[in-house]
Amino acid sequence: MSEDEVEDLELHRRVAAGDRAAFDHLYQRYGPAAYGLALRITAQENLAQEVVQDAFLALWRAPEAFDPARGAFRSFFLSLVHHRAVDAVRREERLRRRTERASNLEPVRGEDVAEDVVEAAYLGVRRKEVRAALEVLPPEQRQVIELAYFGGHTQTAIAEILRIPVGTVKTRTLAAMRKMRRVMSPGE
């Protein structure tokens, strides 16, 4: 476990004890990543702000939802943001209207941190690792991951968008997830 992950755990422990300063510290640490993710999925500033607000309020109100035994805080919290963002776009039935745009999602390559965003160095390092893992995927595998994750589409919807069998979507999804894990955790 890295020093940054240990610091995350300590901040989370303090948040669970009601420490507002620790909460603000986590916000400064993960707010930009959370907002960037929510913006990417919802494609709407107001909705993205609601998603981030809900995620941080959920963290404050139910900090015990994070179980350190199940992985890093970073991964837990971004999953929380992802879940809420996907729920938000599905709930508002914007999926159909977003289909055309989502099927032409911009590539992750070349997205750089805006100059006014100050972010912990380790998040930048991890971001490069994840992007690199995505980039080694064959295009057809990367496409199903991006449609599912950032497009918020179900596998059935992805099959319709790409005009391929659902079984092919499932196969590509599993192959992509396995390959990314191997690239990011070569020792496992």
Partner: protein, 256 residues
């Protein structure tokens, strides 16, 4: 067995990406309830996929949230949800009392799929109370059906963040000898049994906990079934039963 795990891992990958729907979502929930907790390989695979799914969230460029967002969150923290508290007062009292009993070990409870957490009774109590505090969590009352005593309603609380379902009751009648209660989750009129059968304690108290994403379902039903049986559909003729409509099945409708 290898072939089975290939199929299971396909489902776990889709589950981690929130991209399952229809029968796949139901099958995944069943696996998460019945197989995954008992299979080290599947637990490790799921943990790895979920960690990866979280990290994929890092790939978009970070963006500076508006300056007003943190103050808004602070106001959310400070806000006292008076109306929500009053509306939830009765629910909170029931759940808190049962949760307190759980925490003290005064009641046995059914864990649909979290057997490894049997020691965390206090944690369960806190989870329920915290869930009820959340403005995003709306408890649902399962109303008694037919001749079942109206005073015996169940309270359903689900937490979308951690995909946990709780069922709480403090006046549940004893099922007939040889019978127990079975939870059913329904989507578009089709029901699947969820978790193990249960019976209330001698005072009629029940706390049922399971990991499931209820967003996939639009109905919940509790029926009385023969102990040891493997029912495939709810016993609509059971002497005691409770039922409620959920807000779920949104994925199915969104995909339609």
């Amino acid at each position: 067995m290898e072939l089975d795990h290939e199929r299971i891992e396909e489902l776990l990958a889709g589950y981690a990406l929130l991209s399952l729907d229809g029968e796949d979502a139901v099958e995944a929930d069943r696996l998460l309830a019945e197989h995954v907790p008992t299979c080290l390989r599947c637990r490790q695979t799921l943990a790895g996929f979920q960690e990866l799914a979280g990290d994929i969230g890092l790939t978009p460029a970070p963006a500076l949230p508006p300056d007003l967002l943190l103050p808004r969150i602070h106001r959310g923290i400070d806000a006292v949800p008076v109306t929500q508290r009053s509306r939830r007062g009765a629910y909170f009292a029931v759940a808190a009392s049962v949760a307190a009993l759980v925490a003290m070990g005064g009641i046995s409870f059914t864990m649909a799929n979290r057997a490894s957490r049997a020691e965390t009774r206090t944690q369960t109590a806190l989870e329920i109370v915290n869930a009820l505090r959340s403005p995003n969590v709306t408890p649902v009352t399962l109303d008694a059906q037919g001749t079942t005593d109206d005073a015996s309603s169940f309270l359903e609380v689900d937490t979308p963040d951690v995909r946990t379902l709780y069922l709480v009751a403090d006046a549940c009648p004893q099922p007939a000898p040889g019978m127990a209660y079975q939870v059913w989750l329904g989507a578009n009129g089709s029901f699947v049994p969820y978790g193990e059968m249960f019976r209330p304690d001698e005072l009629g108290r029940v706390l049922f906990e399971g990991e499931v994403d209820v967003a996939h379902y639009d109905e919940i039903w509790i029926t009385e079934e023969p102990i040891g049986s493997q029912p495939t559909e709810p016993n609509a003729e059971s002497a005691h039963q409770w039922r409620a409509t959920l807000d779920g099945a949104d994925e199915a409708s969104a995909a339609a």
